[in-house]
Symmetry: C2
Subunit: 166 residues, 2 copies
Amino acid sequence: MDEVLADPIGKFIDIYQREHGYTYTLDQMHGKEFRDLLPEELQPTLREYINRKGFFRDLELIPDSREVVEQLCQKYDVFIVSAAMEFPNSLEDKLHWLGDHFPFIPWTNIIFCGYKIVKADIMIDDRIRNFSGFDGRKLLFTSPHNIAITEYERVNTWDEVAVLLL
Amino acid sequence: MDEVLADPIGKFIDIYQREHGYTYTLDQMHGKEFRDLLPEELQPTLREYINRKGFFRDLELIPDSREVVEQLCQKYDVFIVSAAMEFPNSLEDKLHWLGDHFPFIPWTNIIFCGYKIVKADIMIDDRIRNFSGFDGRKLLFTSPHNIAITEYERVNTWDEVAVLLL
């Protein structure tokens, strides 16, 4: 979900601008995690924001994600698999967010987990750790933190996913 | 989780005794779902009870589940996979319940889903629909509703699981 369907980075940028007066840009993240941009004393606050009820409830959509996923559902059995379990307070927010933006995905096809031990043909993910142990085709969805990784088939946008899979 | 680690049936029996004056026993369920015992006018209430916040928070443990799962964790990578997504209000309750009773299972190894499209070697489940598409060894954990099913390897208790897998 995060950085593939939903955009937490945009919300991080807003929060640290509003609450702490820092102006960060996506360019600064090139190959880094957002937390690496923060001064050391602010780094623990990132986890606190993520853990707050409501954090995941109003994230913006990654451009074209809804439209392309809806088209993918015509051709594939699409599952949303989110490593949400690290943040217990995110579960209900994520489920409601999916209900708002991806109402065509039935509850049967939503998975909240830690390790993604799923059996599927294709995985679209921004974290290469989730490809570990996955047998199918791996599509690395571009996010600022993974920009320097070269050893996977990459998709930069949902339009590129559409070209490859539709 | 339900009917394998946690006991919703015992709670159903208590609720319908207390709230509606019916006395049901496990013997009556032989090969049936609990809802099939209810008079037709009460059948919709079962889903309402299950959907209430807190329903899954205080379920009793299935005997020996904690002890045997803890021992299994010494020998296997154990994942808890629950088809919880049908009941959005259950997610936090189930996660907190696991934290109370199975604190040795890390968040990385907890999965809430609909269809169980997991890649694993062994699945212990009370619902044969969850075995569909699963390649590994299937152990049908006895529950009143599945008592008449004969085509799967069956485990009646966690002690039997221990004998087979430890």
